[in-house]
């Protein structure tokens, strides 16, 4: 379905993005799910909850309704520190250090698979 609600003639298409709230919103949590044994937890989304316990309960209901996970982590979103893509690019320019790549080295064919 198109979830873009059409802009009726005479409407600007702008929608309000903020408003006054009565109470305070619950904090946000980032959710990480381990799909099965042997692989890492992977970030899957976020949610709001009053505390870690209810965050875990909500994460189970929201993100693992069909056996998508054997283990779930929740982490307060405000506790996450991150590299942004631009900064990360400065640190990891693989092209400058090609000698770090296995494909940089020529091994004669007769040596076989290495």
């Amino acid at each position: 379905m198109t979830y873009e609600v059409p802009i009726a003639p005479g409407e600007t298409g702008e929608i309000a993005e903020t408003t006054q709230l009565d109470g305070e919103a619950w904090p946000m949590w980032e959710v990480f799910v381990r799909a099965r044994r042997g692989i890492s937890h992977v970030h899957i989304g976020s949610l709001h909850a009053a505390d870690a316990e209810t965050a875990l309960e909500n994460a189970r209901d929201v993100y693992t309704r069909r056996g998508e996970g054997v283990s779930v982590w929740v982490v307060p979103s405000e506790e996450v520190s991150a590299f942004e893509p631009d900064a990360a690019a400065e640190y990891v320019d693989a092209n400058e250090k090609v000698y770090r790549l296995a494909t940089h080295y020529d091994i004669p064919e007769e040596v076989g698979q290495m």
């Binding site: 379905m1 198109t2 873009e4």
Partner: protein
Amino acid sequence: MAPPEDKFQAIVDAEDKIEPSDWMPEGYRKTLIRQIAQHAHSEVIGMQPEGNWITRAPSLHRKAILMAKVQDEAGHGLYLYSAAETLGVNRDEMQELLHQGKHKYSSIFNYPTLNWADMGTIGWLVDGAAITNQVMLTRCSYGPYSRAMVRICKEESFHQRQGYELLIRLCQGSPEQKAMAQDSINRWWWPALMMFGPHDSDSPHTEQSMAWKIKRVTNDDLRQQFVDMTVPQANYLGLEIPDPEIQWNEERGHYDFGEIDWDEFWRVVKGNGPMNRERVAHKVKAWEDGAWVREAATVYAEKKRARTAA
């Protein structure tokens, strides 16, 4: 250094994804907020037409299916609010704006569910139309939206298949059951086609959305795709599509179909469909009735924190 607009467009053109911390044009951000918020609201309001039948499902099996489906819709709403929040808006505020009538949701949910067959037709046609659109949106340029769509599409497949199977059962049943299914498709066919939005010629924002790769296929193309897919499915059920102009066009390689009643379309978009007021009123009531649960959870969390600190 290249201007940020160029870098942004280069990422989009390369079929790479834009992530929340990337620079993006203000119009891109606003378009996404509008669309993702409306999409989230649609999932949440979309629980009502089906919730209406949970207590009247004809068997425990069908009741369990319907509850699972309604729970999925709540989950879809949450994935989407979560995607919208990466753009710097707040979920509770979006919801408050919906309550105030300042945000809209898909018009399809402003139609009533009058018989049990509607539970099948909604899965088949409404979720079918949703899948057509959402499969396209998995390729949307905004990472968090695209990822939410991948999860949602997996679950929508259950929604559509259970709906179609429900209709197969009704159509193989008594004449009354089949008549119920026919009555249902008669009411839902046109609103389902309306879900794809105005004609391309009346969608001034399509071009920009396509350039930003928020939208990948136009309204009319998606609608045609949906009709082509659905007509044979209706034939299998032995149900008649309420459009005398439906006909295979050999030359085009598509089904021709009649014109949508655009007056009705705009009437419902503008808030005057059969259920607009009731849907929002019910949503506000559910939120207010749940206030004590939210307060209790907050107080309990504070109490626990205080105990741990002590």
